[in-house]
């Protein structure tokens, strides 16, 4: 996909996010929207996957360590063809295969159940290790929140991945700067994030995580990096694309009401129009 196609796709993913969360009357739009470009890049450009064969042997793996942003994950999977986009409206509903946090037994394309912060990265490390043990060349990606990295287990996992030179692992930190209680530096600062991963023997790339040129360059650089895992520190805007949600911690875990939903969709329609209509 070229940049414009990725941008248009990401905009569709964002529409799916707000639609799903609005229908659920609960969920986490802020961190889903901030990471929408990364979800899009991974599933439409980077990863070796097949929506028709979600459990294909030797496919690339993805673990959403910041599992609460399931709406972003599900919307990317739906838009990629794993299941109908229409089903995003069943998010969090009783009996839905779209649970509040990712469940690998329920949802096609989900490689690992997650949601309890700090745990997904360890599972991703295990997947990367499995590939090394078996001499396979599939790659593993995991997306973490910048608040999530306050969990100690993240650094246990980082230490192991760095010590084992897992160059088939890419850790992406969605650095949108906000967590439930406010700015990450006010709650319990994890900064400098890049220096911390460097200290754990990671190759670190700092990017604007809402810019596809930089995203593309970073993942190419990660693939070319040998002998050490890569951490991409993606500076993003929480709530990206929806005017009233942007940079607002209040939209971490809240659903828009009908009026807010209409505004959000109008914002995204406008962005879509500026990009040149439907993809």
């Amino acid at each position: 996909m070229n940049k414009l196609e990725l941008q248009k796709t990401a905009n569709e993913v964002r529409k799916g996010i707000v639609t799903a969360v609005h229908s659920a009357k609960a969920g986490h739009p802020g961190g889903s929207l901030s990471a929408a470009d990364i979800f899009t890049y991974l599933y439409f450009e980077e990863m070796n996957i097949d929506p028709k064969d979600p459990k294909k042997a030797d496919r690339d793996r993805f673990v959403l360590s910041k599992g609460h942003t399931a709406p972003g994950y599900y919307s990317a999977l739906a838009n990629r063809g794993y299941f109908p986009v229409e089903d995003l409206k069943t998010l969090r509903h009783l009996g839905s295969y779209l649970q509040g946090h990712p469940c690998m037994q329920e949802t096609p394309g989900v490689d690992m159940s997650s949601g309890s912060l700090g745990q997904g990265i360890s599972a991703a490390v295990g997947m990367a290790l499995a590939a090394k043990l078996d001499g396979k060349d599939y790659r593993t990606y995991t997306l973490l929140g910048d608040g999530e990295i306050q969990e100690g287990q993240v650094w246990e996992a980082a230490m192991f991945a760095g010590a084992r030179n897992l160059d088939n692992l890419v850790v992406i930190v969605d650095n949108n700067g906000l967590q439930i209680d406010g700015k990450i530096e006010d709650v319990c600062s994890p900064y400098p994030i890049d220096k911390k991963f460097e200290a754990f023997n990671f190759h670190v790339i700092n990017i604007d995580g809402n810019d596809f040129d930089q995203i593309d360059a970073a993942f190419k650089e990660a693939k070319a990096t040998k002998g050490m895992p890569t951490a991409i520190i993606a500076k993003t805007v929480k709530g990206k694309g929806v005017s009233f949600m942007e940079n607002n911690a209040g939209w971490h875990g809240k659903a828009p009401n009908d009026e807010e939903y209409a505004t959000a969709m109008a914002d995204l329609e406008k962005i879509g129009a500026e990009l040149g209509g439907a993809k």
Binding site: R61, V63, C103, M104, Q105, D111, M112, S113, G115, S116, G118, Q119, G120, I121, S122, A123, A124, V125, G126, M127, A128, L129, A130, A131, L133, D134, T140, G152, Q153, E156, A157, M159, F160, A163
Partner: protein, 313 residues
């Protein structure tokens, strides 16, 4: 029983892993800097490429095992019970239990027979924690023969399994030609009519010894070995309770949430029967030689004998 062979079940664990390594190429063993103590070092010697030392980071080890399992490996993670089940509880629940991944947990140094290390390392709560996790199988083998059989059976079955092993050497009691291990099947070791003693782990041998002493005084005790606490063999317990009308449970674990509670869950719903629970009575352990602690807390043959005697009179 002076010349009885004694082997710690953690030794059995390490040896069984090494034996299974040949038969199960997908078996990988993870440890957290305790390969010498948990005896996974025996496996490491035989299969160095399939032994992964995660360092002192049990929670990460658990997540790594989950990831390995999603890729077709059969990981056995090892640590002391305190860390494997205690520190790790939420990782086991959410990263292994919820996705029902094929991860096995080898928890050594369970209970007070940890001995001199004292209360911080004597886990008397692990069975309670693990059996609350949906889909988790919980096995507490009583000796070397059973521990080895349990490891193999855990690997052969699909799904998460918690296996509990001890530090101290315990008598080998199951070395009989007709011994057969089946997950979820209790073993009737001694028939009796006055009282049923349901035991697991180290208390199985001491319950047999206690039954011998009780017999000398005219008390006929039936002894059942419940090596699988979950799923529990309800039938063997109900059948025996119906016969004797009195049930004693004996375990090297808190009386809250372990074997005793599991047995009571069944009896109170299906066949209300007087029960006496023998175990750790809502107390932490302490430092001391394993056998001295077992005696102090009434988990040896003498302690079980005297409690059962009081209970049936």
């Amino acid at each position: 029983m002076a010349d009885v062979v004694k082997i710690a079940t953690r030794e059995s664990y390490g040896n069984a892993l090494a034996e299974c390594g040949k038969d199960f190429p997908e078996l990988v063993v993870l440890d957290a800097d305790l390969a010498g103590a948990t005896k996974t070092g025996v496996f490491k010697k035989a299969f160095p490429d399939r032994h992964i030392d995660c360092g002192i980071a049990e929670c990460n080890m658990t997540g790594i095992a989950a990831g390995l399992a999603t890729c077709g490996k059969i990981p056995f993670i090892s640590s002391f019970a305190m860390f494997a089940a205690g520190r790790n509880f939420e990782q086991v629940r959410n990263s292994i239990g919820y996705p029902h991944l094929n991860v096995k947990i080898g928890a050594t140094h369970a209970g007070i027979t940890v001995g001199e290390d004292g209360a911080t390392h004597q886990c008397n709560e692990d069975v309670a924690l693990m059996r609350t996790i949906p889909g988790m199988t919980v096995i507490v083998p009583s000796d070397d023969v059973e521990a080895k059989a349990a490891v193999r059976a855990a690997i052969e079955m699909e799904g998460p399994v918690y296996c509990r092993f001890g530090r101290a050497a315990v008598p080998v009691i199951n070395d009989k030609p007709d011994y057969k291990f089946e997950i979820g099947k209790g073993v009737l070791l001694r028939e009796g009519t006055d009282v049923t003693i349901v035991a697991s782990g180290i208390t199985v041998a001491s319950s047999l010894e206690a039954a011998e002493k009780l017999a000398a005084e005219g008390i006929s005790a039936e002894v059942i070995n419940i090596h699988t606490i979950k799923p529990l063999d309800e039938e063997i317990i109900l059948t025996s309770a119906k016969k004797t009308g009195k049930v004693v449970t004996a375990e090297e674990h808190s009386v809250i949430g372990g074997l005793g509670s599991a047995v009571c869950d069944v009896l109170c719903e299906k066949m209300p029967t007087p029960v006496l629970k023998i175990g750790m009575y809502d107390k932490f352990g302490e430092s001391g030689p394993a056998n001295a602690l077992v005696a102090k807390y009434g988990l040896d043959a003498e302690g079980i004998y005297s409690k059962v005697k009081d209970f049936v009179k």
